[in-house]
């Protein structure tokens, strides 16, 4: 019975982390899948969201600013707005250039974000991070506190998924697809391509900020390593490419699948003798990277290929 309870808790934590990654991955899907923008600094937006919620919701502390003990939902909104604003600034400079420049600039922005959180010790407690972040429903008895938090994350995944499904089928989403397919034609049709790209970039970053807020609450702790390019950026890319970009279902299922693989393989490598455990951790990264390359080369559409919006008549049939 105890073993079963243990498996249950593991399943809850797996789903919670998978759900947080699903929000991240949906955010990337808006940026890359819809708008075709390469963001190599997902971790930066993720970290901004995490720190904003951390600093706004914690009790007063001498180690960092904050102590506003603000309502969780307001904190989520603030995290999203903060990440969106930074994305707007980066986008303003880079969106008129080709995607490569955006990739370089976002990797730089993520690095600068990490430097700020690391160096501004008076405000963020530097490398020691912010701890004792309140988690919603944590006063409920075990295991219900975990279940309740999982429910919040899953509701967020559901809402984001539902909204993006509508957005993708709406005229907004169709213009996005058109821009990826034939940009000059869209320009000729009088659409403001830069404006659409900016909307996609900012919207995606806001979702990443929300995922960061969840992460801060889930771990009850945040430090500058939250923007780690490996777990916060690279893994999300693998999830989207494997799941299928420009497909929201692919983004969510890719996130759950890859997170399960990642987490389960850690259990396997963790059981090896210490010397091997450290080394095989790198084998894990290598294999995940190889998986990305194989999917890029052999199955570039992912497990769930992009579904093109159907012509109006068939939409009416399915409705």
């Amino acid at each position: 019975m105890d073993a079963l309870y243990g498996y249950g808790l593991y399943a809850i934590s797996l789903l919670t982390m998978g759900g947080i990654y699903a929000v991240l991955c949906l955010g990337l899907n808006v940026q890359w899948g819809f708008a075709g923008l390469f963001n190599a600094g997902i971790g930066g937006f993720f970290a901004i969201g995490a720190y904003v919620t951390a600093l706004l919701t914690t009790a007063p502390s001498a180690r960092h600013i904050g102590g506003f003990e603000i309502n969780t939902l307001v904190a989520y909104a603030c995290s999203m707005v903060a990440a969106g604003l930074i994305a707007w600034g980066v986008g303003k400079v880079c969106l008129r250039l080709r995607s490569d420049y955006l990739a370089i600039a976002t990797i730089g922005a993520a690095e600068v974000v990490r430097l700020i959180f690391k160096n501004e010790t008076d405000y963020t407690n530097g490398p020691r991070g912010v701890s004792a972040i309140p988690k919603p429903f944590e006063t409920l008895p075990e295991p219900w506190n975990h279940v309740a938090f999982l429910a919040i994350v899953l509701v967020a995944v559901g809402l984001a998924f539902w909204a993006l499904q509508i957005a993708q089928r709406a005229p907004w989403g169709r213009v996005m697809t058109a821009i990826r397919e034939n940009e000059p034609a869209v320009r000729a049709a009088g659409k403001d391509v830069e404006q659409f790209r900016m909307e996609g970039f900012v919207l995606g970053a806001m979702l990443m900020g929300l995922a960061g807020a969840f992460m801060a609450q889930y771990l009850k702790f945040v430090d500058p390593n939250v923007s780690d390019p490996l777990t916060a950026t690279f893994l999300v890319w693998v999830m989207l490419v494997v799941g299928g970009s420009a497909n929201n279902k692919g983004a969510v299922l890719g996130a759950l699948l890859i997170w399960t693989l990642w987490s389960a393989s850690e259990i396997v490598t963790g059981r090896l003798p210490d010397d091997w455990a450290v080394r095989t951790a790198y084998v894990r990264i290598f294999l995940i990277g190889l998986m990305l390359q194989i999917f890029l080369q052999k199955y570039p559409l992912g497990i769930f290929p992009e579904q093109r919006p159907k012509p109006p008549r068939s939409t009416r049939e399915s409705a």
Binding site: G36, F38, A40, V93, C94, L97, R98, S99, D100, Y101, A103, I104, A105, I107, G108, A109, E111, V112, L115, K118, N119, P229, L230, F234, W237, V238, V241, R279, Y282, V283, I285, F286, I288, G289, L290, L292, Q293, L296, Q297, P300
Partner: protein, 299 residues
Amino acid sequence: MYALYDFINFHFIPGLVLGSIYALGAIGVTLTFGILRFANFAHGESMTLGAYFAWSLVAVFGLHPMAALPIAMALTAVVSIGIDRGFYRPFRVAPTIMLVIASFGMMLMVRSVIQFSWGVQLKSLQTGIQPPMVLFDAIRISPKHVIIVGAALLLMLIVHLILSRTKMGKAMRAMSDSPELAKLTGIDTEQVIRNTWIIGGALAGAAGVLLAYDTHVETMMGFQVLLPTFAAAILGGIGKPYGAMLGGLIIGLAEELSTYPWIGDAPLVSPGYKAGVAFVLMIGILLWRPSGILRGRVF
């Protein structure tokens, strides 16, 4: 007067050293960006790889780091061609952003191979402390700094000769200027791409060895200089090797000079933010002049 010597010893000379390392790295970035048309994120890991090759040569055969340099360069070039064959060539006709994603994945893969094979402990190319050379009683130059700048200048001269005097160099510059026209004139593009990887990979390896010679060997060293290297390539103008050299020097000097107390007694930029200087310069150049100093290409 002492302030001037401090400025030279602690800011100008380290800036020059760092700048020549960035310059070597940026040449490879600008060539791959100009000829293959994509931002190669795995370039930093080529630098790391070069440093580890050199470390092994020094540790196993007891070579001087500078004797290991050419061998490490050759090995890095071979690995670069291998990576191109396996992971970049399938995307020759695909949208180039696919190459950016592939190189992003490659960055993590190469690094994990390095971490697996060599471990993550800090290593040094040279043990012991060398006394600095003293000029005019006040200017202190460490011999290894002279070697680094000298080696970097020599390599840049070689690149210059290859690009300006050989047929292959001309073909590379032609392809960087206009791939369509280059193809029309019968240039063997696969050959040019192979040479781009040889030159870019070898120079990245050299930059890694020199960086490791200046500081130490570490698995994250390449990633840490990736951003300044990109900044240098963009600053100089994409596709312009001479611009990359110039950009590298500017970024290296700017990073080190930014911590000099220009106004008042405190450093202008706190040393913790030194790594952010390159980013700010890069954003600035993208805003005001995206084509860079030497009017490179803007994609």
